[in-house]
């Protein structure tokens, strides 16, 4: 076996080792990532980064602070649960890249008042994945 072939084998062995050490969920759950572009004011923007392949649908859940109502949103709000103080969007036809949810609130919110998560179906057969909006 010449030196070049030995180098290839070494490289492949390293890749296998990295693959074995990396948890499967880490790869699966990094397909979608969401964060607040701003956490204060009365216009809140949530960025959602979609990696390839995009899931067929993502649910965005946003907790609404006490005493706040949603004036409008883009895209259109699809579900409002006053009992739990939650609103939800069902994002379909997703493409790889960044998408945004923009929420116009009835009053300004301050840092720490906002929380929410995104939910999608694991492509690794693990059911629904939840990830906090950072």
């Amino acid at each position: 076996m010449n030196t070049r072939i030995r180098h290839y084998w070494a490289g492949i062995s390293c890749l296998i080792l990295v693959g074995m050490l990396c948890p499967g969920s880490a790869l699966a759950e990094e397909g979608v990532h969401a964060w607040y572009l701003n956490r204060t004011g009365n216009k809140i923007r949530i960025a959602i980064d979609i990696k390839s392949p995009p899931p067929p649908v993502v649910i965005v859940m946003q907790k609404i602070p006490e005493g706040v109502t949603i004036v409008s949103s883009q895209p259109r709000l699809q579900k409002k649960d006053s009992e739990h103080g939650e609103v939800k969007w069902l994002l379909r036809n997703l493409k790889t890249g960044r998408t945004e949810v923009v929420i116009q609130m009835s009053r300004e919110v301050v840092a720490g008042e906002l929380s929410g998560d995104i939910r999608w179906q694991s492509s690794f057969g693990k059911g629904m994945v939840r990830q906090t909006i950072e």
């Binding site: 579900k79 179906q121 057969g125």
Partner: protein, 315 residues
């Protein structure tokens, strides 16, 4: 050998809306052979092929035999037109040889295999003879409701073969639509068939069925199906075979009269490969948005119903 009535074969095939390709695939001959059989008045063909032809046409053999001429020995006067050329059903994928890099190639295969085995935890139907087929059924369905059924056919990478997928519906269920379009639907026997070329990996088939309107709560609907991979032994479709008649929407997996996030994500995930398959997705969306629903006993329709404090489709 038996003598068949070519014109009758053509007539039956056209009545059933079958293509020559479909019939050729079932009988395992070429479309040219089917064309020759149909266009000669009384061709003699092998009995085995005649029986397969009857199976493809979903009729009895006697329906197209030329009566008293059955079981003819091959003779010089009756030129056999059953060309036994092998049909192009099983094509081997071209294999590239890389004599200069055998170790690299082997290493890459080992790497892919290791990664695949390590990361792929999703349950799959067992692969038999290079094929596996799995059915996904809702747990419950209301009487007279349309519901989707999904079939996933998996084959070994590199395989390339024509297959027939045959599904048998429970009694009194009515087939509605399918994606891709089915080649055959025999309403009397409740049999749906597709012909497809399976080129390794995963293929998805879906169809919409209406449950029996007269069914009563607790009745069981039983599905069965098989894959006919060329000349190989048929493979049984595994997975969901049984569902129960209830009073809930088919997407409401746990029957709690609401479609929650997990349920709607599962529905979207199942049918994501088939964007043209109309399983009445808008209704599923509306039921999810409303948090709850009720079933109108008169019309059988599912009506979104908000709980106190829950409002869908706002603002």
């Amino acid at each position: 050998m038996v003598r068949i009535n070519g014109a009758r074969v053509k007539e039956i095939r056209e009545q059933q809306g079958l293509t020559q390709l479909y019939v050729a695939t079932v009988v395992e001959v070429t479309t040219d052979t089917i064309s020759r059989w149909e266009n000669r008045r009384y061709p003699s063909i092998k009995r085995e092929n005649a029986e397969k032809l009857a199976q493809a046409l979903t009729v009895e053999l006697a329906d197209f035999l030329d009566g008293a001429e059955e079981d003819l020995p091959p003779s010089e006067n009756v030129a056999p037109v059953d060309i036994l050329e092998p049909p192009p059903l099983e094509l081997s994928a071209p294999v590239r040889h890389h004599p200069r890099w055998p170790l690299l190639f082997t290493g890459a295969v080992v790497l892919l295999l290791a990664v695949f085995l390590f990361f792929d935890h999703s349950p799959r139907a067992p692969i038999v003879q290079g094929f596996a087929a799995e059915r996904f059924l809702p747990a419950q369905v209301a009487p007279g409701q349309l519901f989707p059924v999904l079939l996933q056919v998996t084959s070994d990478p590199g395989s390339d073969i024509s297959i027939i997928i045959s599904e048998t519906l429970p009694p009194d269920c009515i087939f509605n639509i399918s994606v891709p379009a089915a080649g055959v639907y025999n309403r009397k026997d409740g049999i749906i068939k597709w012909v497809a070329r399976q080129q390794g990996g995963l293929s998805t088939f879906a169809y919409l069925v209406q449950s029996p309107a007269e069914a009563v709560l607790g009745d069981q609907l039983v599905f069965s199906g098989r894959i006919l991979p060329g000349k190989a032994t048929p493979v049984t479709v595994v997975g969901g075979t049984r569902m129960t008649i209830g009073s809930v929407h088919w997407a409401d997996g746990n029957g709690d009269m609401r479609i929650d996030d997990e349920e709607i994500l599962k529905v979207y995930d199942l049918f994501s490969e088939l964007p043209d398959f109309d399983y009445h997705r808008d209704l599923v969306d509306d039921l999810w948005a409303a948090e709850g629903y009720r079933r109108d006993e008169q019309s059988g329709a599912f009506i979104p119903q908000d709980r106190p404090g829950v409002k869908g489709q706002m603002p």
